[in-house]
Amino acid sequence: MNPLAGTAVDWVGLAILLPFAGFLVNGALAFLRPKAKRTVSIIGVGSVAAAFVVAVAVYLAVRAAHPDAPYVRTLWSWIPVGDLSVSAALQVDQLSVVMLLVVTGVSSLIHLFSVGYMHDDPGYARYFAYLNLFVAFMLVLVLGASFPVMFIGWEGVGLCSYLLIGFWFEEKEKADAGLKAFLVNRIGDVGFLIAMFLIFSHLGTLDFRETFARAPQGLTAGGGAVTAIALFLFMGCVGKSAQIPLYVWLPDAMAGPTPVSALIHAATMVTAGVYLVARTNLLFAMAPVASAVVAGVGALTALFAATIGLKQWDIKKVLAYSTVSQLGYMFVGVGVGAYAAGIFHLVTHAFFKALLFLGAGSVIHVMHRAHHQSHRHADAQDMRNMGGLAAYMPWTARMMWVATLAIAGIPPLAGFFSKDEILGAAFARGASQPFYLIVWLFGIAAAFLTAFYMARLMLYTFHGPNRTGDLERPHLAEAPWVMTGPLVVLAALTILGGALNLPHVETLHRWLEPLTAQGAAFLPALAPSTGVEVTLMVAAALIGIAGLWLATRILKPETLVPPERAPQETGFAKLLLEKYRVDELYDRFILRPLVWFSRVVLWKGLDAGVIDTAGVNGSAALARGLGWIGSRLQSGQVGTYVVFFVLGAVVVLAALLK
């Protein structure tokens, strides 16, 4: 009997039901009473806040019991077919509780922020309905006790992401961005599905507990089967968590409202891939090759996206590439086998990246308001139109500086500890496998670039001379408290978050031990000496400071001009501004050949040529031909019939007489 039975954990389903009920009510209100903004706000924020209360109760129960085995609450039998039996079941353990708290906590703050940000939007009720639905699906994802249940959440959050990216679907490019996110994610989902098929064919189950119980016997460590499973699972993660080569959808996803970018495309949904790897850590630990791929892709993505972030002008695009880069760090963490470190960075990143996005949202909100007052049609997200905003919105600026220092890895903020732990683990693995040293180097380089581009964002947005224009300047003012309040809370979490997993105390690491212990048996022990550890920490902090210092030295906000008058970039800077032209590359070598293949081969060749001609029209012609032959027999002449009749009689007689 699990010690959690009979505690608050039995009510964990409420955490999903409450936001879902919020979705239903707000969805109905969107049709019936779209103007009832107060009701919508209360239901939208209240349902998620209530889910957070449930999450805290569940957390307290788990903390009191600290069970070794996950507690699974089976709701009903879902797919009982032959050997396959999947239940709609929720799993509560140390990992899902961490995710539960982060998702509901950050969601509550972002819902509150949205009340201010979306206040004048005509689609207010629809927005909150989608956002509540997202929270419900995200909780299905983190609480699911089997791969199929998790997959429901996985697809559900993808759907909500699509709906919210294309929230302002009147503009074609925003609707297209939603479609792009949806389609790119499908590629990854194919991998997830294949991984599920492989797990079922090798282990005969899709339940998490059963899978991990059978895996050590059913699969050979380092064998082809487990490597294939892990790689296909990772393919799903690459899509959902925007890693190379499927990261292209995330920067475009910034077309959605900014709180959506904060919640879905920074703090929660995109980290689902990291969660999946941590959840299936046993399978990845048994497949060292797949783990190396995870770490390699993560490191490459971290550096690659950070370089693009250097030259972006759209404030949200900088943060988007920063998110891609930080997700790369998390994959380095789970790839080198430091699963707790990966989850640690996921949590701290949720805090400081949500803070950065909400801060950016606050800036965009204020810029929009100012442009609206003076009827100007400039880009409210382009940093070249901002500058010196710290004087007008001091709270937003302060809070964003906290997050900037955290993401740059300045001690003692949360980002320093989580990033350092990942890089330390990569370095320790590098002692025996030089491949991981390269991963570590990439991580260090990306950390430097991260500090640089974040300082650039802050300098151009908040410091230097103001470039908004004389007509707009009087309208610049701090955002309302519903928007700055969540910023302050997130900033507090960003400052204190590092305490979750301090070196040598390692609270989170021990918390997750019941889940990572089984996989740890397959991994080499990581125990860098204290001297090395301290050196690495100092180096990491110095690199962050160096990035910030260099940015303040070489960047001159005074020289910036509005985008209309900006000089043409040349050389490598142009390449960075154009994001390495990866989208164009995909368009050229994947999309166009695919469209050509669909049009010329599949449509004109196969569909019109084979199926229409041979299949549809062919069978019609065959029937007509046979009918024509039959109609020739029916001459209407009694004489002919008699001839056949007599012939038939003769044949029958001959047969009888033989």
């Binding site: 039959g630 027999l633 029916q634 001459s635 209407g636 002449q637 009694v638 004489g639 007599v646």
Partner: protein, 98 residues
């Protein structure tokens, strides 16, 4: 015992009837040929009843009765046909051609 000659005559009559049905175009003639075939069968019944029993002879009466009824119906059809089409030539009657 004229069994074999009787059967031979019967076979000849039946064959004549078949040939008549196949070759003639006039509905009345074809009709008469069918009667010829029926009577050929009757002759067979009668001839064989010497050996097998009276059942054959009884059967002949049934055939004659049915043939009489058939003649009535058949001739009525031919008359109706002639009234509508002014001919009893079956080659020119092909309304049901496919």
């Amino acid at each position: 015992m004229l069994l074999e000659p009787s059967l031979a005559v019967s076979a000849i009559l039946f064959s004549l009837g078949v040939v008549g049905v196949l070759l003639r175009r006039n509905a009345i003639v074809i009709f008469m040929c069918i009667e010829l075939m029926l009577n050929a069968v009757n002759l067979t019944f009668v001839a064989l009843s010497q050996q097998i029993g009276l059942d054959g002879q009884v059967f002949v009466f049934f055939v004659m009765t049915v043939a009489a009824a058939e003649a009535a119906v058949g001739l009525a059809i031919v008359i109706a046909l002639y009234r509508h089409r002014d001919t009893v030539n079956l080659q020119s009657i092909n309304l049901l051609r496919g």
